[in-house]
Symmetry: C2
Subunit: 342 residues, 2 copies
DNA sequence: TTGAAAGCGCTAACAA
DNA sequence: TTGTTAGCGCTTTCAA
């Protein structure tokens, strides 16, 4: 910066003021400084700047992975609003327990970011408490933490509507396939199951635990086992509500391999509306991670500007059912022996 | 840090030495300092540290998007090696031309990162030159830039082997479906087409431009048009090599909707081995973005430590064909009128 | 093995 | 409107 100042024949303060766009610089001087900065390819050191301002112009995110549709899409949405605000994005990827422990022990984001967005973790109270004394706004995404700003999709309503869609088609035996082992995502998982149960209760149907099975996400083998359990029931389901599209697709795969027609003999509903849902023409509950990322980013920015505001703001985003071709009315019941035809 | 020093009854220099793991600290003092740091939840300000060391312990990446399988997986691999090295990861998402121009104009990474990884862009010479005087190592990923460190998959060989697989099955009319409009990814795109042509040339087959069609990635409609053009040829293909799995899936979708059997009447090969390839049981050329990310990260770290080394290192990663159920020998040719049977 | 002091590159308060 | 000066929180000589 001293170089720029010298070349423009001004002091470093003036260079600083010019480069930050402060209005207290005369046009001629501004022009000279900008010219000099361009010629010298000068870029302000954010480090030096934040040392004195205390603001880093950097937002940190904590994510379990980068390689999922949800995370990729959400972070793209977030990145857009941060870029527009001139903020940078630092990503902490915490795939397992060891890394998680290390992160919470050292909290490396401390003093190195202006805000932290925590995605899709099911935090312990202790971990939440650690984040509380981080001295920066923390926004919880895809989870709700009481008394802290959170952005999430209405999983309960989504599952409720998806299940209702099946009920409205006439299904009475509806299974729920949840994911297991997807530690960190268990939050949405719980909520969706609640919505499913709520729909059944509404319809006056009993909750049959045999109809709730689990499988690791995206695993053909596990899905086959889960479907196998359902098909082996005394009274098997005529429809399946899957916690995620990937699970729905695995279920459909298994059913088709067994020559069980979808939706002829079994209807399937997913949750997400990932690209794969289109390829399978899957009826699904759509959510918009990109919107989630965007809203979370905007909330974080507003908290940075005014740490008092919206401290307890919960933003609940909507979902909507997209009917496609994997749902239909249940097959006609088999002739029931005890009732003579006509 | 002053607080920690006071609490431990030492100078800030000693705290600094302790926290950086320097060996010139006596065990008792080290214990006291670590204790104090823990009690005060102290984390070093990277900003202040880098101001004096000149190293930021931060690696920047430039990516066109975060919401693709390739990027998500590659960045996960990269994040792993960076975390192990105690480096942080800053992501610049540059989805369009406007953002790209802005990035290259200001080069915000300058002085704010120790290295830059540029993913999947087809850079102009001018842009490359800009990056050259960034005063930090720049690693090019998924592209080769002469004389600069690059990490990429052997797209030519991949497409060559994929096409050969079709040739070996007996196919002679093989179409190539490329993506268009996916600006920034055009590099791999070109290379794969080269591999395809090479395979045909090897087999002594003519290059028929009618067999090369384009479609926007992941677009059902566009794929239908492209497939339509192929099916309308005087001599339609019996197999399709698709530049990416997503395109292959769209092609299969269209074919099946038209009651053209895959692989009975048309074989299809993809490139990537994304999860969707499994769901479609797609024969494909597999690459490992996670490995790419990892290697790129390691290369960047080594360049940071020793800017002289490996300055021109090109790391070319292998691919392999995964045969699944979308490829088979071509259908028996129709009876040819001019030859009497037997 | 430890401490004192200088200074990294910037911004902010104050003076001019 | 501009310049001078102090100091942000560290690391790094250099001296002890």
């Amino acid at each position: 910066m001293a170089d720029v100042a010298e070349r423009a024949g001004v002091s470093t303060s003036t260079v600083s003021r010019t480069l930050r766009g402060l209005s207290t610089v005369s046009p001629e001087v501004r022009a000279r400084v900008e010219q000099a900065a361009r010629e010298l390819d000068f870029a302000v050191s954010r480090h030096a700047a934040s040392l004195v301002t205390g603001r880093t112009r950097n937002v940190a995110v904590l994510v379990p992975t980068l390689s999922s549709w949800f995370m990729g899409t959400a972070l793209s949405g977030l990145a857009r609003v941060l870029r527009a605000a001139g903020m940078e994005l630092t990503v902490y990827v915490i795939p397992g327990m060891a890394e998680r422990t290390a992160f919470f022990e050292h909290l490396p984001a401390r003093r190195n970011a202006d805000a932290l967005l925590v995605f899709s973790f099911d935090l312990t109270d202790e971990e939440t408490a650690r984040l509380d004394d981080l001295a920066m706004p923390v926004v919880y995404v895809s989870q709700h933490v009481d008394g802290r700003p959170s952005v999430y999709v209405d999983d309960v309503a989504g599952a409720l509507h998806g299940t209702r869609h099946l009920l409205n088609l006439g299904h009475r035996r509806i299974a729920y396939v949840r994911t297991e082992g997807a530690c960190g995502f268990s939050f949405s998982s719980q909520e969706r199951l609640v919505g499913y149960r709520q729909a059944l209760a509404e319809a006056g149907l009993p909750l049959d635990d045999d109809l709730v099975v689990a499988t690791p996400a995206g695993d053909k083998r596990g899905a086959a086992e889960a479907v196998g359990r359902l098909l082996g029931l005394r009274e098997p389901p005529t429809a399946v509500f899957a916690e995620q599209d990937e699970v729905a697709v695995a279920v459909i795969w298994t059913l088709r391999a067994t020559r069980i027609e979808v939706p002829g003999q079994m209807s399937v509903v997913g949750f997400d509306d990932q690209p794969v849902a289109q390829w399978f023409d899957l009826t699904t509950v759509a959510q918009s991670p990109s919107r989630i990322g965007q809203e979370a980013g905007e909330l974080a920015l507003s908290l940075i500007d005014d740490p008092g505001a919206e401290r307890e703001r919960h933003l609940v985003l909507p979902t909507h059912v997209i009917p496609r071709t994997t749902t239909a009315p249940p097959p006609a019941p088999r002739a029931e022996p005890q009732l003579p035809p006509d």
